[in-house]
């Protein structure tokens, strides 16, 4: 393979229509001018209540209302939604129903569904739905959940959905033998992904074709399709699910099923008209999954050089009201606490506890920002106790480049063990320190440092279809959708290299089950590794097929052929070859010449060869479908370092310099990877210092609007200085590792470290804010 496009800063092919306002997001769908019915959900205003009755008579009677559904009106109304990732330790997994009819367990839980001729009529009708609630006691913090002050589910003792204990080495004896021991406590609050496009679903049922078409702002159209086929008893081939342009995902759109994802298709089938639902921002705040609420107790044992001897971590994960996503989040935290460091004895226990809040599922970083916070804050504490430089303590504990593959000794989210495939952690650290440079002058300036590893590219698999058309253009498709990660560009780069064509001649479709029906989804920094390698596999199969067709026709050895410049040619003899377009024609023996040069493949003109036109095992068309299933995760890594200044009176945060050294193996497109990192760091800064989900004791989110949930604008985000190192993954042919989540992971740890130094106060919690720093600085 001649590498030509891989690694280049190719400008994105998806930009033009997005820039012209021709993007197609789910709320923009208006197929053939069909005006879809519009819908709204009636949601619980209480965090915990028994439903005595639901009265929808007035709503149903309102002119313009087409249908009102409660659980009693649904054939699946009394079925619990699935636990997506069952696990033996999830002994008390609970999921909600599509519409609650007995008990609501968080503010925002759906109770009724209204379909009307317009959105405004549906919203007016929602006001007429009378739900009689009997209030129940609320459990909102993970601490109160763990104390079991009250129960979220009557049949879940202690509110504990799951408990898991893992140990590598012998922590008790190692702690007992440690020259130094320290106990630490770290608290992380919930955060919200807040993509700029909230969620939306559009569905149409065709009775004539017996076919369901769904547009969904989802990270996993293939899984939605599988679920809808099961629910409605349809063959999967009669269900099309398309994630059109998706306005950001960051995790919560991988959750399935949100109630609307079942109700909108159900209503479209029942009413025989297209139905749409578009979430508004306020309901997004409580209806869409959140993440990050965890409380950690740590005991560390270390020697006088600052070398770690034992680490004991016991943490509580805030699951929210239900556990649809299983226990993936605490499993990831448990696996990722040790990070890039040698921890010879490690024990980790977690309890996943129910609270009366929105359920949790991965949000960019998914269990890792808190894991990183725990480890990095612990190392800072060790450095402070021993009077050592923070960088030096890290240097003494890093896994060395000759220690790969490195086994951590705990379980990973894919059912395998955690084994780091490759990396050079000391190089990351030294480069970050060099790029950070000297400390700026002034008071209240602090330096922060944080390192992380990230398990990326989890399985089970992704696939791709690649076809050379008789025009010579190439079409490629994969099941996973893009939410802005430039899939159409980077997959085109990979395919173009394999086929020796221009990147502009490759057109990619992703996230449309009509084009590619199999696959898993876009999450866990896995797209490039799984779908990227699948693209290389499929395009490689097409290249081999092209060589064999040309070898037949030119009577040369296929091994002597290469694909260059849109042609298949004999190596070293560019005049002996054939354009790919002509090969595509020959790949399909035809009876009828239908244009596009196809006369060359008709029975009286094609070069005769013995046997039938298609030999046994041959398939028509210059196309192939290929799959890639990773043997294990690829482990990306990085080091962030920063200087900050904190105003001693207003506690305003000023980030003076922020450097990132990033290793995601071989980089397909630096432009895209840098965009991912810049965006991730910004999201990390928002989560660390500006954004806070302010739940009160009654479980009400008091700041469910962008007026009060303060996402950073350009004025809050500094320039991020990015540099790369590349340690290719030995696990996949392209040597790549994932990059989507990395930027966000260490930001909290870095800012905590820097602010702690700037103000001289211990920082053990996230998020911070000027008010929080003022409170922490007050003499007690």
């Amino acid at each position: 393979m001649t590498t030509r496009w891989f690694g280049e800063r190719v400008q994105r092919v998806e930009d033009d229509r997005l820039l012209r306002g021709h993007g197609r997001f789910t709320d923009d769908i208006n197929e053939n001018g069909e005006r879809a019915l519009e819908s709204v959900l009636v949601r619980s205003p209480f965090a915990h209540a028994r439903i005595r009755s639901i009265d929808v008579i007035a709503a149903r009677a309102m002119p313009g209302v087409v249908a009102v559904f409660t659980a009693a009106d649904l054939p699946f109304g009394h079925t619990d939604l699935p636990i997506l990732i069952p696990h033996p330790n999830l002994t008390h997994g609970r999921t909600q129903r599509c519409l609650a009819s007995e008990v609501v367990r968080y503010v925002g839980e759906a109770v009724a569904f209204i379909v009307a001729e317009s959105r405004s009529i549906a919203e007016d009708a929602a006001e007429l739905v009378q739900v009689d609630y009997e209030l129940l006691p609320v459990v909102i913090t993970p601490e109160s959940a763990a104390r079991a002050d009250h129960l979220v589910h009557d049949d879940v003792p202690g509110n504990v959905a799951a408990e898991m204990i893992q140990e590598a080495g012998a922590v008790q004896s190692a702690l007992a033998a440690s020259p130094h021991r320290k106990r630490l406590h770290f608290r992380f609050e919930r955060g919200a992904a807040s993509p700029m496009e909230a969620r939306a679903v559009w569905a149409r049922w065709s009775t004539a074709e017996h076919r369901l078409t769904v547009y969904d702002s989802t990270q996993s159209p293939t899984s939605i399709r599988g679920g809808l086929a099961v629910l409605f008893g349809l063959p999967e081939s009669n269900v099309d699910v398309i994630a059109p342009d998706v306005g950001g995902g960051f995790g919560p759109k991988i959750m399935l099923f949100y109630p609307d994802e079942l109700l909108v298709p159900f209503a479209a089938m029942k009413l025989g008209r297209p139905v749409k639902w578009t979430e508004d921002r306020q309901e997004h705040f409580t209806a869409v999954n959140q993440e990050r609420g965890q409380v950690h107790e740590v005991e560390v044992g270390y020697d006088s050089d600052g070398k770690l001897l034992a680490l004991d971590v016991d943490f509580v994960h805030d699951a929210g009201a239900y556990t649809p996503y299983g226990i993936i989040l605490p499993i990831i935290t448990a696996a990722q606490v040790p990070g890039p460091y040698r921890v010879p004895n490690y024990r980790v226990r977690f309890r996943d506890v129910y609270t009366n809040a929105t359920p949790t599922s991965p949000y960019r970083g998914a269990g890792r920002p808190h894991a990183c916070f725990v480890m990095e804050r612990t190392l800072d504490a060790v450095a402070a106790e021993l009077g050592l430089e923070r960088a030096e303590v890290r240097r003494r504990n890093l896994i060395q480049p000759d220690q790969f593959p490195y086994e951590v000794g705990v379980a990973w989210q894919d059912g395998n063990r955690v084994v780091y495939d490759s990396g050079n952690y000391p190089a990351l650290l030294e480069k970050a320190l060099t790029n950070l440079g000297p400390r700026p002058a002034g008071d209240q300036v602090g330096m922060g440092l944080g390192m992380y590893v990230e398990g990326t590219g989890v399985g089970p698999y992704e696939g791709a279809h690649v076809q050379v058309l008789v025009s010579g253009k190439v079409v490629a498709a994969t099941g996973i959708p893009s939410q802005g990660q430039a899939h159409a560009t980077v997959w085109a780069q990979i395919v173009a290299d394999q086929l020796g064509v221009d990147v502009a001649d490759v057109e990619v479709t992703s996230g449309d089950t009509r084009r590619f029906p199999w696959g898993v989804g876009t999450f866990a920094s896995r797209g490039a590794v799984t779908a990227g390698n699948a693209m290389a596999v499929a395009a490689g199969m097409v290249a081999e097929k092209a060589k064999h067709i040309v070898a037949d026709h030119l009577e040369v050895d296929a091994a002597d052929l290469e694909l260059v410049g849109g042609k298949v040619q004999v190596k070293g003899s560019p005049d002996r070859g054939m354009p790919l377009a002509a090969v595509a024609v020959l790949a399909n023996p035809v009876r009828y010449a239908f244009g596009g040069g196809s006369e060359a493949a008709t029975q009286f003109t094609a070069r005769a060869r013995p046997g039938p036109p298609l030999h046994e095992g041959e398939q028509p068309g210059l196309e192939a479908t290929g799959y890639y299933s990773p043997p294990g995760s690829t482990w990306a890594a990085g080091c962030h370092a920063a200087y900050v200044r904190v105003d001693p009176k207003t506690f305003r945060l000023e980030i003076l310099k922020y450097v990132v050294i990033h290793d995601c193996g071989r980089v397909i497109n630096p432009l895209v990877v840098e965009g991912q990192i810049e965006g991730g760091v910004a999201q990390g800064i928002g989560g660390a210092f500006y954004e806070r989900l302010a739940y009160d004791d009654e479980g009400q989110l008091r700041n469910a609007s962008f007026m009060e949930f303060l996402m950073p604008y350009a004025t809050e985000i500094p320039t991020i200085e990015i540099d790369h190192i590349e340690t290719p993954s030995p696990l996949n042919p392209l040597g790549i590792k994932g990059a989507g989540e990395a930027g966000v992971i260490p930001v909290g740890a870095v800012l905590a470290s820097a602010i702690e130094e700037a103000l001289g106060i211990p920082i053990t919690e996230m998020p911070l804010s000027p008010l929080k720093l003022f409170e922490l600085s007050r003499p007690s």
Partner: protein, 151 residues
């Protein structure tokens, strides 16, 4: 009201927001709705040449005014507007949802400050939220757009 140079009748429903009118009555879905309370800036359009949030206006309030949406900056088949071109060159967009609002804000910014300082750039885009890019590439795009606008 005039939208992208063409005259349109007023909306039937007097409580229709300008953003909804553009999107759902006129089919100009390039104007996006991210929060409907005037914070995110996704719905930014030009009203008589100045950026406004179309979710904070009723469509009837635009009567007698000249509205420009993202679709009005460059006709199909024609070259991108310099601001659009700059966003492309500088990777100033990822998911593309906030992008039309940013582009319209930057058109307004460069109208006011053809050579914006770094502070004016940050100020000029500080009414728009982006969750993907971290703003660095958008800042670069504004500087590049100022260059392209002069060519």
């Amino acid at each position: 009201m005039k939208v992208n140079g063409a005259v349109h009748p007023p909306p039937v429903d007097p409580r229709r927001l300008l953003s909804d009118h553009l999107r759902h009555d006129l089919g100009l879905t390039g104007t996006h709705v991210g929060c409907e309370h005037g914070v995110c800036g996704c719905c930014t359009v030009l009203l008589d040449g100045a950026p406004v949030r179309s979710c904070l206006m009723l469509a009837v309030q635009a009567e007698g005014h000249d509205v420009t949406t993202i679709e009005g900056l460059a006709a199909d088949g024609e070259a991108l507007h310099p601001v659009q071109q700059a966003f492309h060159e500088c990777h100033g967009l990822q998911c593309g949802f906030c992008t039309p609002g940013f582009v319209m804000s930057v058109v307004g910014l460069l109208e006011q400050h053809p050579n914006p300082t770094a502070e004016q750039v940050d100020e000029g885009i500080s009414g728009n939220l982006c969750r993907c890019t971290g703003y660095a590439s958008i800042r670069r795009a504004v500087v590049r757009a100022a260059e392209l606008s002069k060519q």
